[in-house]
Structure formats: structure tokens, C-alpha cells
Amino acid sequence: MAKQSLSEQLDFVISRLLDRPDAPLPRDQAARPDDPSVSPTIEVIAALRDLPRPDFKARLKADLERRISMASSAQAEPVPEVRATVTPYLSVRGAAAAIEFYKKAFGATELYRLQQPDGRIGHATIDIAGAKLYLADEFPEAGFQSPESLGGSPIVIHLDVADVDALGRQAVAAGAIVVRPIEDQFYGARSGQFRDPFGHTWTLSTNKETVSPEEMQRRNDEISRQETAAPEEAKPPRGRATYIREGFHTVTPYLIISGAAQWIDFMKRAFAAEEKFRVPRPGTDVIMHAEMQIGDSMIELADANDQFPAVPMTLLIRSSDPDASYQRAIAAGAHPVDPVKDQGYGTRAGTVRDDSGNNLHIFMPLPGDKIFQEFRSVTPHLYADNAPALIEFMEKAFGGKEVYRAQLPDGNIPHAQVRVGDSLIALAGSIGRSTYPVRPSSIHLYVPDTDAVYERALRAGAQSIEAPADQPYGDRSAGVRDPFGNQWFIATHIGSGTP
């Protein structure tokens, strides 16, 4: 009964409030001054008078949604077809020179140039046969890096032109490097690929034939079948091959340095190197070519000249007593860089720098080490900002194989190893910008077929230094510079004579 009376009481209040919406709300001192809970109840009831109708919220929502969909379809229809344009924006080291090159190579016209106070070009627009391109100097501080900073570019600029052969000749004459020679392609174009001196890759193409997608696929499948059927490329035989000169391995560091004669003396004192051969410039102590042996390895060297400026490099020198070797190197005139200590990665090692600027990393694999066991007495060590790209180059050009890679979370690659032929090449770098010093190296490589490897190296992005030629000392040799600045002297020993 008490509950009944409460619900009756409440209904009485509600009825009054609903009948006379404008009546003042009963206050707590009104009907039941002893019950403080009346006031909040009245508050609730009063507010409920404004309660929206149950279906109104949903109706308005449906109405709004109808308007939204009408507005969006009304907007979508009358807008004419929008044509997006894609414009390559090239980052180059030396934009002014690049503009001059593109004028010569591709007949570009300069449309606009924005000069920065520091001399760099902040933006330029050029026109190549009606195609627009943007370019600017690299601004590494703003993350705008050129192929030279990145160690290559993954983008190919495809340029459709009226006469691919004529423009190809013009581009090469201006200094472009042939990556793939111009030839008729199965998809109906005649095209070739070129790398400009700033590291950008261009496909020049002229359409010759309209090929249907089905026919294109058919031709592509046919080519794939032929390639699969072709015998696997002959692998270099194990052990010392006849194309490798006696006493050498696939890989030999070829140091081009200043003070070559002094360096030979230093290496004799520091590492008991044995001089095997020396060609001095007549009447001088300038060394045109020299060879020396340390342990089971050869080192070749020459004095730097105008054609081949000095490229001091890093050599890993294996020693059974790195502490003693380090001390001897210091005593012979080397400068300490990093004293000998146990390294976390499995060696006891230290580093010195000699007067010619080479870094010599003296190491001994510690017991249990598996990473450095196979190293010979001397191993060249390369550096690249983009270490994977350098590895890929060695794989494509020289048939190298990555056998080890240590990669840190920050992208740095403190150590990687690539096997080329019977030898290992060590390298360090990064997958982005390296915190290691980047400097080019110079390596002598014995291969079964100089001409083929030379061609492969060019296809993999290298520039030619010397075309393949027979040498009087019984080698057929060539020279290339890879996209990372390293020089590779490719040779096949063909003669039986000794140097």
C-alpha cells in the first residue's frame, strides 16, 4: 500500500505539471517539506516534459543522411573529369650542372629557376620535348637527398621520344652512361636505358609497333621459357683457376696512394710484407705498379696520378698476434686509431692509420668465432651509405653472394661479407645514411671472362673507366667505377708469362 500511494502521489504531481506546463515547480518546502528527495524528482519530471518524441531523433538522422548522400552525388556529377599530372621531381647534387647536362643530352629548355642565397637551386622547371620536369639541388638537411647521397635511385624516368637512337647518341655524347643499349623490345618499343652523371636513370623509348596485351603476355612467356631452358652460367671452378694469375686470388686490393714506395717500406716493417714486383717510372721513385705479399694474400699498389687520384682504403689484416702486429705498425710509423681489444663480435682487433691514409684493421678471430674464420691475411673493406645496394651491385656485376650481414635496429650495417669467386669482401654501411665514413676503394678482380663481367657491371650501374683490352703482361683487363665510387679492375689471366 505504501508503494501504491507513492506511485499515486507521483502521478498526481506529473499530471499537474503536464496539465499546466507553465506552473511553477513545487519546491521542497511545498507538498512534503520533510522529504528532501522530492526536489530532484520534480527536477526530473520537469525536464521530462521536454523529452523529444521517440522517433524524432531517428527521423532527423535519416533526413540528414539523405541530404549528405544527395550533396555528395550532386557534387560528384557535374565535376568534369579531373586529369592528374605526374611530374618527376629530381634531387641532384649540382642542379645547375644537371640543367646544363639535360640541355645537352636531351635538348631540355630551362623554364624557371629559383636561386637560394647559398647558391643552391631551390627549384627549377625544365621542358624536354614538351614534358615537364622539376629539379632542385639536394637539401640533405631537409631529407631531400640526391642519388649520390643515397647510393642510387630506384626511380626510372621513362621518356618517350620521336627518335630514340638519335637522342641516345646525343645523351651519351653529353656524358650519359649506357645501362642497357638501345634495342627493339618485345612489347613494341625500341628503347634503352641510360644513367646521367647525377645518378638518375632514364629509359629513352620510341614506339614501333602496337602490341595487344595478349600478344605481349605471349611474347613475355616465350622469353621466360627460353631463359629457363638456357644452361646455368658456368660457375668459377673451385681452387685456383687458370684465369687467376699465379699467387693471386679472385680479389686483391689495388691501392692507389701517394707515397707508394714509402708505403711498401712501412708494410715490410709493420707486417713483414714481401715485395714481389715493382714497375717504377723510369728515373723516379714513382711506382707505376707494384705487388707484395702478406701471408697468403697479395696487395697491389701504384702511386696516384691525374687519371687515378689517391683512394686510400681500409684493409683487414689477419694476424696471429694482433697486439704485437699493432705495436710493430705503430713503431713503423702508423698512427693509432683504435687500440687492440677484444671486440664483441668475436675478434681481438685494433686499427691504425698509415701515412698514406689507409686504415689497417689488425684482427685475430677469437676461439669460437665463426664469422671471421675464413678471412685470408688481407681482405679489402668497403663502405657505402646504402650497403644493400652495394651488395646487390656485387651480386649482379660479379656474381657475388652475400654470406653475412649484421644489421642494427638503426639501419646501420656494421659488418657484411660478400663472397666473390674464391675470396671474401667485407663492407660496412647502412640501409640509409651511414654513420661510418664512406670512402671509395679500389679492387683488382680476376674473373673467367673480362668482357662479360665488364658488360654486366655496366648493366648493374657501373661507369666505364677502361674498356676491355689485352695487356702486355698477359691479362685481359678492364676498369669500371661502381655507383658508390669504388673502382674495380676486372682481369682474366690469358697469357702464361709472368709479369
Binding site: L6, P21, V44, L48, I68, A71
Partner: protein
């Protein structure tokens, strides 16, 4: 106790500015507030619905003009609502040929300050009604929005008058309890 501007509201606005279909989220978050604001100023339910609809139509059309300055989105909606109410009074005045002041005893003053706390409480109460058990909710809706008597509701639901009164009583008690609970929780949160 007013709606505090918060990051999630800003996200909802930015999303709706990019894609109008996301406006539905803003509508869901603000419907009760706007309706409460309008209903307090407009006597007739039909007028309140018209004006509420107009507020959201205008908000949708002008959302791209809304700039986030840390003020709650509802304040912007209230301004639209105030203008819409004032327009309606002025139009009514023009149509009747008399100045607005002569039209009614208490023409709403659009510049009158909003009591955001009362609006917020009211809006919360509306949302609480939607959470009531179905039979309680039906009684409340029929009684308060359709203005039906207990006898009419009892006939419609096939129940006794006493049972309907009981449902009404439980509903109001439950609303009051949850209303106070939420109120306290919010107050604690604010000071904690």
C-alpha cells in the same frame, strides 16, 4: 558540468569536415543537447523539432567553416539555434504585422546566456530514458511526449492503471537515481 571540449570531439569534427558521412557521429553526440536547448526556449513540440532540424541542417551545410578554437562544438550549435529561434520570432512578427515585442508575453531573447549546465543535465536525462527497460520507457514516452493519460496508456498496453502508474513510478525513480549517480560521478571526476 558543461560539455568540455575534448580531443575526441575535435577528431569527430575533422573527420566530418573531410567526409560528410561522418557527420552522423556529431549528430549522435549532440542531438539531445540541441533539442534540450531549443525545447527550453520554444513552447511547442513541433516548433522545437523544426528548429532542431534546422540547426543540424545548417551545421551540416556550414561545417567546413567551423574552426576548432577549443570551444565545445555544442556552443557553436547553440549559437545556430539561438539565431534560428530569433529568426522564427522575427518572421512571425513580420507575418502578423506587429513588432516581435508585441507578439508574446515572453519572446525568447537569443542573446540570453545559455545555461550549459542545465542543458547538459537535461540532455543526459534524455539519454537515460533511452536506456530504461522497454515497458518503462514506453510509459514515459507516451506520458510525456504524447501527453497521454494513465487510462489511455493502460488501454494501449493492455494493463491496469495501477500497473502503469507503478511502471511510471519505477521509471522516474530509476531516472532520478541514475541521474544523481552520474551527476556525482562527474562531479568527483572533475575535482579528482
Amino acid at each position: 558540468m558543461s560539455a568540455k571540449p575534448d580531443a575526441s570531439e575535435q577528431l569527430l569534427i575533422e573527420a566530418a569536415q573531410k567526409d560528410p558521412r561522418r557527420f552522423a557521429d556529431l549528430y549522435e553526440a549532440n542531438f539531445e543537447r540541441v533539442y534540450a536547448f531549443v525545447a527550453r526556449r520554444v513552447g511547442e513540440r513541433a516548433d522545437a523539432e523544426d528548429i532542431t532540424a534546422e540547426v543540424f541542417h545548417q551545421a551540416l551545410a556550414n561545417l567546413h567553416n567551423f574552426e576548432w578554437r577549443g570551444v565545445p562544438f555544442s556552443a557553436w550549435l547553440f549559437r545556430i539555434a539561438s539565431n534560428a529561434i530569433a529568426d522564427r520570432w522575427q518572421r512571425a512578427a513580420r507575418e502578423s504585422g506587429s513588432p516581435p515585442s508585441a507578439l508574446a508575453d515572453d519572446p525568447p531573447d537569443p542573446s540570453a546566456s545559455v545555461d550549459p549546465e542545465a542543458i547538459e543535465k537535461c540532455a543526459r536525462l534524455f539519454r537515460l530514458v533511452a536506456e530504461l527497460p522497454a515497458d518503462q520507457r514506453s510509459v514515459i514516452e507516451m506520458r510525456f511526449t504524447a501527453g497521454k493519460s494513465i487510462a489511455e496508456i493502460a488501454r494501449e498496453l493492455g494493463r491496469t492503471d495501477g500497473a502503469v502508474k507503478q511502471l511510471q513510478f519505477r521509471a522516474v525513480r530509476s531516472l532520478r537515481t541514475r541521474f544523481e549517480k552520474k551527476h556525482q560521478k562527474r562531479t568527483r571526476a572533475k575535482h579528482g
